[in-house]
Symmetry: C2
Subunit: 365 residues, 2 copies
């Protein structure tokens, strides 16, 4: 273990020159890096709304002494949507992001290319992008932080606010074997890796109820949409499975992009999940150490998902692993929706949706 | 003071029945409440990016023990944009939200109507909607929270996380004289007031450097856009003025929607600001108590802004107060971008932009 820590320290030292710019300020991305598509985007509708949330009563102190005590809403989930004008009754796709990130994951890539949100809309799918409860424009319960400040709750009870360091991201997201040393075939746009760093915000997940309210909110969103495809990523990779167990009838398909886990479900749960088509997608270099010694490698996670797929198939489910390696596509990272070949991966998912998932009139919009 | 607190308590008690639903769960807004426009929205481009940010080095503990210590980015500003296809070289408009809120302020209204973001795009303006640094999809420095948890920093040093209670919002945002008692002419869509409650998230402003990095980020955004109209609201109402003082050449106009303050600038600052056209907009019922006894009433804030306008005019500036009352428009609240007549107010702002602000080719997109 000591050797491991030492190795990490050496890695951190060697990578500082690569990662830290001379100034402590991150060089501003020029807006000129953001690319304009050649064809206009024609939307029937776009906008945003909230799902769920809980009204609670709090004291003036718990509200940070900004005004009188009273009621606030906590644990609500923000959702932004775009609906294409050229709609042929395709199912809505809900894209939910991973740890320490927000819905930004699916928008413009770090190097300024079109995100999957817009690409799926251009392919005719209404797209709904939430922020997980406790992150981004979705709320959380701040009372414990103010109570700790006031001394009425012990500091140790305060939940940790989670962040990945850029150095931790390199091996874990498999940009390279070590921080600052890219794989020769890496598909991530590494010249813009500082832009990915900017997408990270503090993760309040440890301050949320268990299970996270995001799961019920995803199920409720699917119900309001009268059926949806749920796409998760990383931390949220298992959320679509959990949402499907709540209400399988409105969960029309599940796409898990590098899920952090594929849980060991009971036979009964597997039977329920077998009614919903499932696609799991993993990138390359899965045997790379994650940089987080307590976590399984991505290859181990891949195998757990493969095991779930096998069980679902045994229960007559439509379940498939999309491993780009088997198609000769190499170098994809954990952030494949931002990789240089992100639209190639999107096309493979879209092909699966077309082939395996029946369309539906779904929601009215 | 004691009487005041007692009055507030009575107000809170009387309003509980109105505000708190029988269940503690907020009733989910049906997606059917979200309205679809009759005409499609045709965009040349849409997407998102970050402005600014600072790279700092932190320990594993400061990062919440999720992975190894190292570098992260803090205090970066998220910006979402929509650029209309039918562009006649109109200036980009940057819309920045107020306290405890996010960029959602300008999107779909609580009762499901089109937000000012889309309305301005439909009128030919490229629109850029940031989240303030420390809120929404914009980052902040979480280290002090984890250090307090670990016991290495005293709890009292931890910044307060700010929220407005729904009961505080009613008088302060001037929905009515007291919580749950609307003004008879209120323009706010009060049947959907719980949806406004959901838009509120913890406000980390007290944990940010002073002045807030949002101001420099707004100035940098205007520079990257090669000129922009900066529109602030409430807490951020003075940010456009501050951004203009940093770089007046790229600040093409200022629109302050119910600014929390119009600062007492020096003569030299007024001279600089006089080079930028200014519009200030205030709603109705400005003498209503704010519900926050330490704060000035909105009438007092109106008068401070009127005084700034007078000084700017004396310095040959184009500065104007838009008071809907003088046009016979009554009942507008603090959230006039969400009021039932929100597009009527938007039209008055658009008329002013057309009349007073020269268009520019501005940014390339």
């Amino acid at each position: 273990m000591k050797t491991r820590v030492c190795e990490l320290s050496i890695q951190l030292l060697t990578t500082l020159a690569v990662l830290a710019s001379a100034s402590s300020h991150v060089s501003a991305q020029s807006l000129d890096d953001v690319q304009t598509p050649s064809e206009p985007l024609v939307l029937k509708a776009q906008g945003s709304f909230y799902i769920g949330g809980e009204k609670v009563q709090q004291t003036q102190g718990e509200l940070g002494n900004l005004g009188p005590g009273g009621h606030i809403t906590i644990n609500q989930m923000y959702v932004r949507y775009m609906v294409p004008q050229a709609q042929d009754s395709k199912l809505p796709v809900v894209m939910i992001h991973g740890a320490t990130l927000t819905g930004k994951t699916w928008e413009t890539t770090p190097d300024g290319r079109m995100g999957w949100d817009e690409y799926f809309v251009r392919k005719g799918y209404p797209v709904y992008v939430p922020d997980q409860v406790g992150r981004g424009r979705s709320g959380f319960n701040q009372a414990i932080f103010n109570n700790v400040r006031a001394g009425s709750v012990p500091a140790a009870k305060q939940p940790e606010l989670l962040r990945f360091s850029d150095e931790g991201v390199w091996p874990n997201f498999r940009f390279g074997p070590k921080p600052g040393e890219p794989f020769s075939d890496s598909q991530f746009p590494l010249a813009a890796v500082d832009e990915l760093s900017k997408q990270a915000v503090p993760d309040m997940n440890r301050g949320l109820p268990t299970p996270t309210p995001t799961i019920k909110a995803l199920s409720d969103l699917s119900a309001q949409l009268k059926g949806a495809v749920l796409m998760g990523h990383s931390q949220s990779g298992s959320y679509p499975l959990e949402a499907a167990l709540i209400n399988p009838a409105v969960t029309k398909a599940l796409v898990l992009v590098e899920p952090g886990t594929c849980p060991s479900y009971t036979d009964e749960q597997v039977k329920t999940l077998a009614s919903v088509p499932l696609l799991v997608v993993f990138g390359d270099h899965r045997n790379n150490p994650t940089g987080l010694p307590t976590l399984p490698t991505w290859q181990e996670r891949f195998e757990r998902c493969q095991a779930l797929i096998t069980r679902l198939k045994s229960a007559d489910g439509q379940a498939e692993m999309l491993d780009p390696l088997t198609r000769g596509i190499r170098g994809n990272s954990h952030m494949m929706m931002q990789d240089k070949n992100s639209l190639q991966i999107a096309d493979l998912i879209l092909q699966w949706l077309t082939k395996e998932v029946s369309t539906s009139t779904g929601a009215k919009r």
